[in-house]
Symmetry: C2
Subunit: 117 residues, 2 copies
């Protein structure tokens, strides 16, 4: 039960839903997500840790970046069910659509470092 509540809590925030929907396109690093959401890095990092604790996503080191990705084969059938649900949701939402476009054009080598947006 605690697991399920944790999953729904993870999804009960607009920014975390946006992150999850972005990750459906491809794995992203913290700074890419930060530049799309327009939040502080520390805030995004916190959102990602909440999603990770819920089991919906996982992280993987890649050179100096940490890539976050949707955790398929998490082993938890409840997580899989929710991830399938999220696949079909919000596909026509305007916020999600523009986030998706940004995901295709964002370049971590430009975006990150000292520069902004």
């Amino acid at each position: 039960m605690k697991t399920i509540v944790r999953i729904f809590k993870a999804l009960s925030d607009q920014n975390r839903i946006r992150i999850l929907k972005m990750l459906q396109s491809r794995p992203l690093c913290v700074c890419e997500i930060t530049s799309i959401l327009g939040l502080a890095t520390s805030t995004v990092s916190k959102h990602l840790s909440i999603l990770k604790t819920s089991g919906l996503i996982s992280d993987r080191k890649d050179a100096k970046w940490v890539n976050y990705e949707i955790d398929l084969n998490s082993g938890d059938p409840e997580v899989d069910r929710v991830l399938r649900l999220m696949r079909g949701m919000l596909e026509k939402d305007e916020v999600i659509r523009t986030d998706r476009k940004k995901v295709t054009t964002v370049d971590r080598n430009r975006i990150c470092s000292t520069e902004s947006s």
Copy 2:
């Protein structure tokens, strides 16, 4: 998007999940739910209003009671999807199982009024 966030917020509380799972058995009035959860009436009423605002449940007056029930054919496909998801979830959870048992034996004519549990 706001609708979806509202739905997940509604489900991000253990007591509200318990209520929703109870309502899968049959419609219940506020005092029946109150006696099973062991919370104050006003608290349960608030939980029910949150679930209702999310579109997951609806209420119907019946004599001096207000029956709450799962809102099938809500018209909203996202609500239907989530309700279907919840159907298959937590079926083996201990808390949910004991709640279900209590639902079958609870009698609003005895439970309500001045008496407790």
